[in-house]
Symmetry: C2
Subunit: 168 residues, 2 copies
DNA sequence: TTATTATTGTTATATTATAACGTATTATGC
DNA sequence: GCATAATACGTTATAATATAACAATAATAA
Protein backbone atom coordinates (compact mmCIF):
# COMPACT_ATOMS: atom_id res chain seq x y z
CA UNK A 1 0.00 0.00 0.00
CA UNK A 2 1.20 3.43 -1.04
CA UNK A 3 -0.25 6.43 0.80
CA UNK A 4 0.48 9.93 2.02
CA UNK A 5 -2.10 9.57 4.79
CA UNK A 6 0.37 10.09 7.62
CA UNK A 7 1.98 13.10 5.98
CA UNK A 8 -1.42 14.68 5.42
CA UNK A 9 -2.54 14.27 9.01
CA UNK A 10 0.61 14.65 11.06
CA UNK A 11 2.58 17.85 11.32
CA UNK A 12 5.95 17.75 9.61
CA UNK A 13 8.25 19.96 7.56
CA UNK A 14 5.97 20.24 4.56
CA UNK A 15 8.27 22.71 2.77
CA UNK A 16 10.58 19.78 2.17
CA UNK A 17 7.73 17.77 0.63
CA UNK A 18 6.83 20.68 -1.64
CA UNK A 19 10.39 21.23 -2.80
CA UNK A 20 10.88 17.55 -3.44
CA UNK A 21 7.67 17.47 -5.45
CA UNK A 22 8.74 20.44 -7.55
CA UNK A 23 12.13 18.93 -8.23
CA UNK A 24 10.54 15.67 -9.20
CA UNK A 25 8.11 17.51 -11.47
CA UNK A 26 10.97 19.30 -13.19
CA UNK A 27 12.72 16.01 -13.79
CA UNK A 28 9.59 14.53 -15.27
CA UNK A 29 9.22 17.51 -17.59
CA UNK A 30 12.81 17.27 -18.73
CA UNK A 31 12.31 13.60 -19.41
CA UNK A 32 9.19 14.18 -21.49
CA UNK A 33 10.35 17.37 -23.24
CA UNK A 34 7.59 19.34 -21.53
CA UNK A 35 8.10 22.87 -20.24
CA UNK A 36 7.70 23.62 -16.57
CA UNK A 37 6.83 27.29 -16.75
CA UNK A 38 6.35 29.76 -13.90
CA UNK A 39 2.56 29.52 -14.10
CA UNK A 40 2.57 25.74 -14.06
CA UNK A 41 5.07 25.47 -11.25
CA UNK A 42 3.12 28.02 -9.21
CA UNK A 43 -0.10 26.05 -9.62
CA UNK A 44 1.65 22.84 -8.65
CA UNK A 45 3.16 24.55 -5.59
CA UNK A 46 -0.23 25.91 -4.53
CA UNK A 47 -1.81 22.48 -4.82
CA UNK A 48 0.97 20.94 -2.78
CA UNK A 49 0.80 23.66 -0.14
CA UNK A 50 -2.84 22.92 0.56
CA UNK A 51 -3.76 19.82 2.51
CA UNK A 52 -7.15 20.07 0.90
CA UNK A 53 -8.06 20.03 -2.79
CA UNK A 54 -8.40 23.47 -4.39
CA UNK A 55 -10.95 24.54 -7.00
CA UNK A 56 -9.93 26.33 -10.19
CA UNK A 57 -11.15 29.69 -8.97
CA UNK A 58 -9.46 29.35 -5.59
CA UNK A 59 -6.32 28.64 -7.58
CA UNK A 60 -7.01 31.69 -9.71
CA UNK A 61 -7.11 33.95 -6.64
CA UNK A 62 -4.03 32.47 -5.03
CA UNK A 63 -2.11 32.44 -8.28
CA UNK A 64 -2.92 36.10 -8.95
CA UNK A 65 -1.67 36.98 -5.48
CA UNK A 66 1.46 34.85 -5.84
CA UNK A 67 2.37 36.29 -9.23
CA UNK A 68 1.24 39.83 -8.44
CA UNK A 69 -0.90 40.18 -11.52
CA UNK A 70 -4.44 39.35 -12.60
CA UNK A 71 -4.95 35.85 -13.93
CA UNK A 72 -7.83 34.74 -16.14
CA UNK A 73 -9.57 31.34 -15.89
CA UNK A 74 -8.07 29.89 -19.09
CA UNK A 75 -4.58 30.35 -17.68
CA UNK A 76 -5.50 28.32 -14.61
CA UNK A 77 -7.27 25.62 -16.59
CA UNK A 78 -4.35 25.31 -18.98
CA UNK A 79 -1.95 24.75 -16.12
CA UNK A 80 -4.34 22.24 -14.57
CA UNK A 81 -4.70 20.40 -17.87
CA UNK A 82 -0.93 20.24 -18.30
CA UNK A 83 -0.32 18.93 -14.78
CA UNK A 84 -3.12 16.37 -15.10
CA UNK A 85 -1.63 15.05 -18.34
CA UNK A 86 1.72 14.52 -16.70
CA UNK A 87 0.07 12.82 -13.72
CA UNK A 88 1.42 15.45 -11.34
CA UNK A 89 -2.01 16.27 -9.99
CA UNK A 90 -5.39 14.59 -9.71
CA UNK A 91 -8.93 15.81 -10.09
CA UNK A 92 -11.44 15.16 -7.32
CA UNK A 93 -14.70 14.92 -9.22
CA UNK A 94 -17.05 15.18 -6.26
CA UNK A 95 -15.46 18.48 -5.24
CA UNK A 96 -14.59 19.93 -8.64
CA UNK A 97 -11.15 20.40 -7.17
CA UNK A 98 -7.55 19.42 -7.73
CA UNK A 99 -4.72 18.10 -5.58
CA UNK A 100 -1.04 17.26 -6.00
CA UNK A 101 -0.14 13.60 -6.50
CA UNK A 102 2.29 12.38 -3.85
CA UNK A 103 3.73 9.62 -6.03
CA UNK A 104 3.61 10.75 -9.65
CA UNK A 105 6.43 8.46 -10.72
CA UNK A 106 4.79 5.14 -10.00
CA UNK A 107 2.05 3.94 -12.27
CA UNK A 108 -0.83 3.61 -9.91
CA UNK A 109 -4.57 3.34 -9.62
CA UNK A 110 -5.55 5.33 -6.63
CA UNK A 111 -8.34 6.29 -4.30
CA UNK A 112 -8.92 9.31 -2.11
CA UNK A 113 -10.03 9.56 1.49
CA UNK A 114 -11.70 12.91 1.88
CA UNK A 115 -12.51 14.30 5.31
CA UNK A 116 -16.02 15.72 5.52
CA UNK A 117 -14.97 17.78 8.54
CA UNK A 118 -11.67 19.43 7.64
CA UNK A 119 -11.66 18.85 3.88
CA UNK A 120 -8.28 17.11 3.77
CA UNK A 121 -7.71 14.49 1.11
CA UNK A 122 -5.24 11.62 1.37
CA UNK A 123 -4.32 9.46 -1.60
CA UNK A 124 -4.04 5.70 -1.33
CA UNK A 125 -2.87 3.18 -3.89
CA UNK A 126 -3.68 -0.32 -2.69
CA UNK A 127 -3.18 -3.46 -4.73
CA UNK A 128 -5.73 -5.45 -2.77
CA UNK A 129 -8.42 -2.90 -3.53
CA UNK A 130 -7.44 -2.70 -7.18
CA UNK A 131 -7.33 -6.47 -7.54
CA UNK A 132 -10.80 -6.87 -6.09
CA UNK A 133 -12.14 -4.21 -8.44
CA UNK A 134 -10.39 -5.80 -11.39
CA UNK A 135 -11.82 -9.23 -10.62
CA UNK A 136 -15.30 -7.74 -10.19
CA UNK A 137 -14.98 -6.16 -13.62
CA UNK A 138 -13.75 -9.46 -15.06
CA UNK A 139 -16.76 -11.24 -13.63
CA UNK A 140 -19.12 -8.82 -15.38
CA UNK A 141 -17.14 -8.70 -18.65
CA UNK A 142 -16.29 -5.06 -18.11
CA UNK A 143 -12.92 -3.98 -19.54
CA UNK A 144 -11.55 -1.64 -16.88
CA UNK A 145 -9.64 1.38 -18.16
CA UNK A 146 -9.52 3.83 -15.26
CA UNK A 147 -11.16 4.63 -11.97
CA UNK A 148 -12.32 7.44 -9.75
CA UNK A 149 -12.72 6.35 -6.14
CA UNK A 150 -13.60 8.96 -3.57
CA UNK A 151 -14.27 7.91 0.01
CA UNK A 152 -15.86 10.36 2.40
CA UNK A 153 -15.59 10.28 6.16
CA UNK A 154 -13.52 11.51 9.07
CA UNK A 155 -9.74 11.69 8.84
CA UNK A 156 -7.70 10.32 11.77
CA UNK A 157 -7.40 13.74 13.34
CA UNK A 158 -11.08 14.65 13.03
CA UNK A 159 -12.13 11.17 14.20
CA UNK A 160 -10.22 11.80 17.42
CA UNK A 161 -11.62 15.29 17.86
CA UNK A 162 -15.13 13.99 17.38
CA UNK A 163 -14.66 11.41 20.11
CA UNK A 164 -13.34 14.07 22.45
CA UNK A 165 -16.15 16.51 21.67
CA UNK A 166 -18.67 13.78 22.43
CA UNK A 167 -17.69 14.18 26.09
CA UNK A 168 -18.96 17.77 26.19
CA UNK B 1 -23.25 -9.19 -5.45
CA UNK B 2 -26.17 -7.04 -6.52
CA UNK B 3 -26.10 -5.60 -10.03
CA UNK B 4 -28.22 -4.53 -12.97
CA UNK B 5 -25.35 -5.17 -15.36
CA UNK B 6 -27.15 -7.80 -17.40
CA UNK B 7 -30.33 -5.74 -17.68
CA UNK B 8 -28.33 -2.73 -18.84
CA UNK B 9 -26.51 -4.63 -21.56
CA UNK B 10 -29.00 -7.19 -22.79
CA UNK B 11 -32.20 -6.33 -24.57
CA UNK B 12 -35.33 -7.03 -22.57
CA UNK B 13 -38.76 -5.53 -21.90
CA UNK B 14 -37.52 -2.40 -20.18
CA UNK B 15 -41.01 -0.93 -19.87
CA UNK B 16 -41.63 -3.51 -17.18
CA UNK B 17 -38.51 -2.39 -15.30
CA UNK B 18 -39.62 1.22 -15.50
CA UNK B 19 -43.12 0.49 -14.28
CA UNK B 20 -41.83 -1.64 -11.44
CA UNK B 21 -39.42 1.12 -10.45
CA UNK B 22 -42.20 3.71 -10.42
CA UNK B 23 -44.47 1.49 -8.35
CA UNK B 24 -41.66 0.86 -5.93
CA UNK B 25 -40.94 4.59 -5.75
CA UNK B 26 -44.57 5.31 -4.98
CA UNK B 27 -44.53 2.77 -2.19
CA UNK B 28 -41.41 4.31 -0.73
CA UNK B 29 -43.01 7.76 -0.81
CA UNK B 30 -46.15 6.51 0.89
CA UNK B 31 -44.02 4.90 3.54
CA UNK B 32 -42.06 8.08 4.20
CA UNK B 33 -44.94 10.52 3.83
CA UNK B 34 -43.29 12.08 0.82
CA UNK B 35 -45.23 13.22 -2.22
CA UNK B 36 -44.56 11.67 -5.60
CA UNK B 37 -45.69 14.51 -7.83
CA UNK B 38 -45.98 14.55 -11.61
CA UNK B 39 -42.68 16.39 -12.02
CA UNK B 40 -40.80 14.01 -9.76
CA UNK B 41 -42.26 10.89 -11.30
CA UNK B 42 -41.51 12.20 -14.79
CA UNK B 43 -37.88 12.82 -13.90
CA UNK B 44 -37.59 9.37 -12.38
CA UNK B 45 -39.15 7.83 -15.49
CA UNK B 46 -36.76 9.71 -17.77
CA UNK B 47 -33.77 8.55 -15.76
CA UNK B 48 -34.99 4.98 -15.88
CA UNK B 49 -35.72 5.12 -19.59
CA UNK B 50 -32.13 6.04 -20.37
CA UNK B 51 -29.44 3.39 -20.20
CA UNK B 52 -26.97 6.20 -19.72
CA UNK B 53 -26.89 8.87 -17.03
CA UNK B 54 -28.61 12.16 -17.92
CA UNK B 55 -27.44 15.66 -17.06
CA UNK B 56 -29.76 18.22 -15.49
CA UNK B 57 -30.18 20.17 -18.71
CA UNK B 58 -30.84 17.06 -20.77
CA UNK B 59 -33.53 16.28 -18.20
CA UNK B 60 -34.84 19.81 -18.54
CA UNK B 61 -35.32 19.40 -22.30
CA UNK B 62 -36.90 15.98 -22.07
CA UNK B 63 -39.11 16.98 -19.17
CA UNK B 64 -40.35 20.07 -21.01
CA UNK B 65 -41.25 17.89 -23.99
CA UNK B 66 -42.88 15.24 -21.81
CA UNK B 67 -45.00 17.74 -19.89
CA UNK B 68 -45.66 20.01 -22.86
CA UNK B 69 -44.60 23.19 -21.11
CA UNK B 70 -41.38 25.08 -20.42
CA UNK B 71 -39.44 23.94 -17.38
CA UNK B 72 -36.83 26.03 -15.57
CA UNK B 73 -33.62 24.61 -14.06
CA UNK B 74 -34.73 24.91 -10.41
CA UNK B 75 -37.66 22.62 -11.11
CA UNK B 76 -35.34 19.95 -12.43
CA UNK B 77 -32.83 20.33 -9.62
CA UNK B 78 -35.56 20.15 -7.00
CA UNK B 79 -36.85 16.89 -8.42
CA UNK B 80 -33.28 15.55 -8.55
CA UNK B 81 -32.66 16.59 -4.96
CA UNK B 82 -35.87 14.90 -3.83
CA UNK B 83 -35.11 11.64 -5.62
CA UNK B 84 -31.51 11.64 -4.36
CA UNK B 85 -32.72 12.07 -0.78
CA UNK B 86 -35.00 9.07 -1.09
CA UNK B 87 -32.22 7.03 -2.66
CA UNK B 88 -34.23 6.52 -5.85
CA UNK B 89 -31.48 7.92 -8.05
CA UNK B 90 -27.72 8.41 -7.86
CA UNK B 91 -25.39 11.15 -8.98
CA UNK B 92 -22.42 10.29 -11.20
CA UNK B 93 -19.90 12.93 -10.22
CA UNK B 94 -17.49 12.45 -13.09
CA UNK B 95 -20.30 13.07 -15.58
CA UNK B 96 -22.39 15.63 -13.69
CA UNK B 97 -25.24 13.30 -14.45
CA UNK B 98 -27.92 11.24 -12.74
CA UNK B 99 -29.29 7.73 -13.04
CA UNK B 100 -32.05 5.65 -11.51
CA UNK B 101 -31.08 3.23 -8.75
CA UNK B 102 -32.04 -0.35 -9.60
CA UNK B 103 -32.30 -1.46 -5.97
CA UNK B 104 -33.47 1.51 -3.89
CA UNK B 105 -34.89 -0.65 -1.14
CA UNK B 106 -31.74 -2.34 0.00
CA UNK B 107 -29.22 -0.34 1.98
CA UNK B 108 -26.22 -0.55 -0.24
CA UNK B 109 -22.84 0.96 -0.97
CA UNK B 110 -22.46 0.87 -4.67
CA UNK B 111 -20.11 1.45 -7.54
CA UNK B 112 -20.70 2.26 -11.19
CA UNK B 113 -19.21 0.75 -14.31
CA UNK B 114 -19.39 3.42 -16.98
CA UNK B 115 -18.74 2.60 -20.62
CA UNK B 116 -16.44 5.08 -22.30
CA UNK B 117 -17.80 3.99 -25.68
CA UNK B 118 -21.58 3.92 -25.38
CA UNK B 119 -22.00 5.85 -22.13
CA UNK B 120 -24.04 3.18 -20.35
CA UNK B 121 -23.71 2.89 -16.59
CA UNK B 122 -24.33 -0.26 -14.57
CA UNK B 123 -24.59 -0.24 -10.80
CA UNK B 124 -22.91 -2.86 -8.66
CA UNK B 125 -23.10 -3.42 -4.93
CA UNK B 126 -20.48 -5.93 -3.89
CA UNK B 127 -19.72 -6.86 -0.31
CA UNK B 128 -16.21 -8.02 -1.08
CA UNK B 129 -15.33 -4.65 -2.56
CA UNK B 130 -16.93 -2.79 0.30
CA UNK B 131 -15.23 -4.94 2.89
CA UNK B 132 -11.81 -4.34 1.38
CA UNK B 133 -12.44 -0.62 1.32
CA UNK B 134 -13.69 -0.67 4.88
CA UNK B 135 -10.65 -2.53 6.12
CA UNK B 136 -8.34 -0.15 4.23
CA UNK B 137 -10.05 2.75 5.97
CA UNK B 138 -9.73 0.99 9.31
CA UNK B 139 -6.02 0.51 8.74
CA UNK B 140 -5.57 4.24 8.18
CA UNK B 141 -7.92 5.33 10.97
CA UNK B 142 -10.33 6.82 8.50
CA UNK B 143 -13.99 6.69 9.56
CA UNK B 144 -15.82 5.83 6.36
CA UNK B 145 -19.17 7.53 5.85
CA UNK B 146 -19.94 7.21 2.16
CA UNK B 147 -18.33 6.52 -1.16
CA UNK B 148 -18.32 7.46 -4.82
CA UNK B 149 -16.77 4.77 -6.98
CA UNK B 150 -16.83 5.26 -10.73
CA UNK B 151 -15.07 2.75 -12.96
CA UNK B 152 -14.50 3.60 -16.62
CA UNK B 153 -13.99 1.13 -19.40
CA UNK B 154 -15.82 -0.92 -21.99
CA UNK B 155 -19.15 -2.54 -21.20
CA UNK B 156 -19.65 -6.22 -22.24
CA UNK B 157 -21.32 -5.23 -25.48
CA UNK B 158 -18.70 -2.63 -26.50
CA UNK B 159 -15.88 -4.97 -25.48
CA UNK B 160 -17.21 -7.52 -27.96
CA UNK B 161 -17.66 -4.96 -30.72
CA UNK B 162 -14.12 -3.74 -30.24
CA UNK B 163 -12.77 -7.24 -30.64
CA UNK B 164 -14.76 -7.70 -33.83
CA UNK B 165 -13.71 -4.37 -35.30
CA UNK B 166 -10.08 -5.32 -34.69
CA UNK B 167 -10.44 -7.82 -37.53
CA UNK B 168 -11.06 -5.04 -40.07
C1' DT C 1 -63.29 27.69 5.52
C1' DT C 2 -59.07 29.16 7.09
C1' DA C 3 -54.49 28.40 8.42
C1' DT C 4 -50.43 25.85 7.51
C1' DT C 5 -47.21 23.46 4.93
C1' DA C 6 -45.24 21.75 0.75
C1' DT C 7 -44.49 22.35 -4.02
C1' DT C 8 -43.80 24.85 -8.18
C1' DG C 9 -42.98 29.18 -11.10
C1' DT C 10 -40.03 32.88 -12.12
C1' DT C 11 -36.12 35.81 -12.32
C1' DA C 12 -31.67 36.55 -11.42
C1' DT C 13 -27.17 35.03 -10.50
C1' DA C 14 -23.31 32.06 -8.79
C1' DT C 15 -19.93 28.58 -10.04
C1' DT C 16 -17.25 25.79 -13.07
C1' DA C 17 -15.26 25.32 -17.60
C1' DT C 18 -14.17 26.23 -22.59
C1' DA C 19 -13.95 28.56 -27.38
C1' DA C 20 -11.71 31.67 -30.24
C1' DC C 21 -8.19 34.52 -31.55
C1' DG C 22 -4.28 37.45 -31.02
C1' DT C 23 0.33 38.17 -28.85
C1' DA C 24 4.52 36.81 -26.78
C1' DT C 25 7.89 33.58 -25.80
C1' DT C 26 10.73 29.63 -26.64
C1' DA C 27 12.84 26.21 -29.43
C1' DT C 28 14.73 24.69 -34.04
C1' DG C 29 17.06 24.82 -38.59
C1' DC C 30 19.87 27.40 -41.39
C1' DG D 1 22.46 35.51 -35.39
C1' DC D 2 18.06 35.26 -37.95
C1' DA D 3 13.96 33.26 -39.99
C1' DT D 4 10.71 29.92 -38.93
C1' DA D 5 7.81 27.04 -36.45
C1' DA D 6 6.00 25.46 -32.27
C1' DT D 7 4.46 26.36 -27.78
C1' DA D 8 2.54 29.03 -24.18
C1' DC D 9 0.06 32.95 -22.49
C1' DG D 10 -3.32 37.10 -22.58
C1' DT D 11 -7.87 38.55 -23.48
C1' DT D 12 -12.67 38.52 -24.36
C1' DA D 13 -16.66 36.24 -24.65
C1' DT D 14 -19.57 32.52 -23.63
C1' DA D 15 -21.03 27.67 -22.52
C1' DA D 16 -22.50 24.39 -18.97
C1' DT D 17 -23.83 23.33 -14.38
C1' DA D 18 -26.08 24.77 -10.19
C1' DT D 19 -28.36 27.76 -6.63
C1' DA D 20 -30.62 31.99 -4.22
C1' DA D 21 -34.63 34.52 -3.42
C1' DC D 22 -39.24 35.40 -3.48
C1' DA D 23 -43.96 35.06 -5.45
C1' DA D 24 -47.75 32.01 -6.69
C1' DT D 25 -50.14 27.78 -6.30
C1' DA D 26 -51.62 23.39 -4.53
C1' DA D 27 -52.23 20.05 -0.94
C1' DT D 28 -53.05 19.04 3.88
C1' DA D 29 -54.71 19.97 8.47
C1' DA D 30 -57.40 22.36 11.88
ZN1 LIG E 1 -1.47 9.94 -7.56
ZN1 LIG F 1 -10.35 15.91 9.02
ZN1 LIG G 1 -28.27 2.33 -5.90
ZN1 LIG H 1 -20.70 0.24 -24.05
Amino acid sequence: MLTNSRLVHQSHDHERCINAALLCANDLCAEKNARMTTTRESVLRLLWQSYRPLGAYQLQDQLAEMLGKPIAPPTVYRAIEFLLQLGLIHRIHSLNAYIGCPFPNSEHSNLFMICTQCGSAAEVAHNTVNNVLQSTCDKLNFTLQSQSIELFGLCPRCSDNTEVSNHD
